[in-house]
């Protein structure tokens, strides 16, 4: 495929403007991962479109922001109901206290403000704790499902020790003998240099077949589906992967079975 012609074809603009159909969009997303020039053209058009829109911005009516803030605050009402109840009670109390003593009123108001501030700080802390907790739970769930997958009897484990000169490297392929899905556990691989990426290869009838590039993933990385293979190996390639492995950049390899 001629990348230049593709970039000039109008398909990128059509995609960014939301006018491409599902098939065109999927094709473009796939190609943009393989060809940095396409990614760059998309980025440039998006940036130009954004700049153009910002340059011709029209000031909205002030009511819009007010209504939005009111609507979004409404969504959080359940969390704040405690404060509202308190403030009402405090307001009532301060009216009586005002009659009795203005100074007491001020005193109570100050108390309330600091409690309110403290409460707000706690709310913020609670939200951040909640989100941390959620992240941890997701990670745990991922790990649990990874473990389930690894211990499945239909899973073939292919250990890939480092090749000569890369003895410190290690990676493991988990290959589902039923679905033929391939998962990779990069146990020990040196960090890829900028612009480089590891790529997994399946050796089928003595020939290397692309099994996908290794993205940053927690635990097991899902790779391409490989129906048959006698061996798996990992090489270091340019970002986006190659069509044929660079053999002197092989890190690990292992036979199936």
């Amino acid at each position: 495929m001629d990348i230049k012609v593709y970039i000039e074809s109008g398909v990128i603009e059509s995609y960014v403007l939301g006018m491409a159909d599902a098939q065109e969009a999927a094709e473009l997303e796939q190609l943009s991962r393989q060809h940095p020039a396409i990614r760059k053209a998309i980025d440039e058009f998006e940036a130009a479109l954004e700049q153009q829109a910002l340059a011709t911005a029209v000031m909205p009516a002030p009511r819009v922001k007010e209504q939005l803030l009111a609507e979004l605050a409404f969504e959080k009402k359940s969390k704040k109901s405690v404060v509202i109840g308190w403030s009402r009670y405090l307001a009532a109390a301060s009216v009586i206290l005002l009659v009795v003593s203005a100074s007491l009123n001020v005193y109570f108001y100050k108390q309330f403000s600091s409690a309110h501030t403290a409460y707000q700080a706690l709310l913020v802390e609670k939200t951040s704790l909640l989100s941390e907790n959620q992240q941890t739970q997701t990670k745990l769930l991922d790990l649990h499902s990874n473990m389930q997958m690894m211990s499945d009897p239909s899973m073939i484990k292919v250990s890939m020790p480092g090749v000569a000169g890369k003895e410190n490297s290690l990676a493991t392929v988990f290959w589902d003998s039923k679905s033929k899905d391939v998962y990779l556990l990069p146990n020990k691989l040196p960090e890829a240099a900028a612009g480089k990426q590891y790529q997994l290869w399946a050796i089928v009838d003595g020939k290397p077949v692309d099994a996908g590039v290794i993205e940053a993933c927690a635990g097991l990385c899902k790779m391409k589906n490989i129906p048959t293979a006698s061996m798996f190996a990992i090489t270091l390639e340019n970002k986006g992967g190659s069509t044929a492995p660079t053999l002197d950049q092989m890190y690990v390899a292992g036979k199936v079975g």
Binding site: E8, S9, G10, V11, E13, S14, V16, L17, G18, M19, E29, I42, D43, F45, E46, A47, A48, L49, E50, Q51, Q52, A53, L54, T56, A57, V58, M59, P60, A61, R63, V64, K65, Q67, L68, L69, E71, L72, T127, S128, S131
Partner: protein, 180 residues
């Protein structure tokens, strides 16, 4: 409107996902005008366009988790939400009815100075106006009115293949016009 860079885009997205109210205020202050410009291009009516803008920000707030940064910029995602919401509004029955009523009353006041002539002279649509006629029509129908290429081929009685090639050529030219 000048964008004051306070957050990087990934930071902003992260803060929005954590439901940060100041992040939302920042997003609104910096992007509402740009989005209103495209909404006005489609809806053509200031009051209604402001209502659509409000809906668009509620959608952005609620759907921020579905934004995928690997597919493109945050603004592109918001722009597409704004465009779709505007087209939906124009196609809704109540809008069609009110437009008919309005056209009847506007006839009385003769031409000149109506909101319609103004809202297609701003933003992206103004740039589309500088395309040649056969290109302009296609971008108007597909981008601003949301017709599919099949529908356009039927409406204009030209082959689907021609619609496709012309539209692609039109968009390539549009990119050259937009280029800073």
């Amino acid at each position: 409107m000048e964008v004051v860079k306070k957050y990087s885009e990934p930071e902003l997205v992260q803060l929005l996902r954590e439901r940060g109210e100041s992040a939302f205020g920042y997003l609104y202050d910096n992007y509402s005008g740009a989005l209103l410009s495209i909404i006005l291009n489609i809806v053509n009516e200031e009051e209604l366009a402001n209502d659509v803008l409000q809906d668009v920000f509620v959608k952005i707030w609620k759907q921020i988790d579905s934004y995928d940064s690997s597919k493109g910029r945050l603004f592109t995602w918001m722009l597409n939400i704004a465009r779709n919401a505007s087209i939906d509004t124009v196609r809704s029955k109540s809008f069609q009815n009110s437009r008919q009523n309005r056209e009847l009353t506007e006839d009385v006041y003769a031409a000149g100075g109506t909101s319609e002539t103004r809202t297609d002279q701003i933003g992206l649509r103004k740039m589309v106006h500088s395309l040649k006629e056969e290109y302009r029509v296609l971008v108007e129908l597909s981008y601003f009115q949301g017709f599919t290429q099949d529908e356009i081929a039927n409406m204009l009685k030209i082959p689907l293949g021609t619609v496709k090639t012309r539209l692609r050529a039109a968009l390539t030219q549009l990119r050259e016009i937009i280029k800073p």
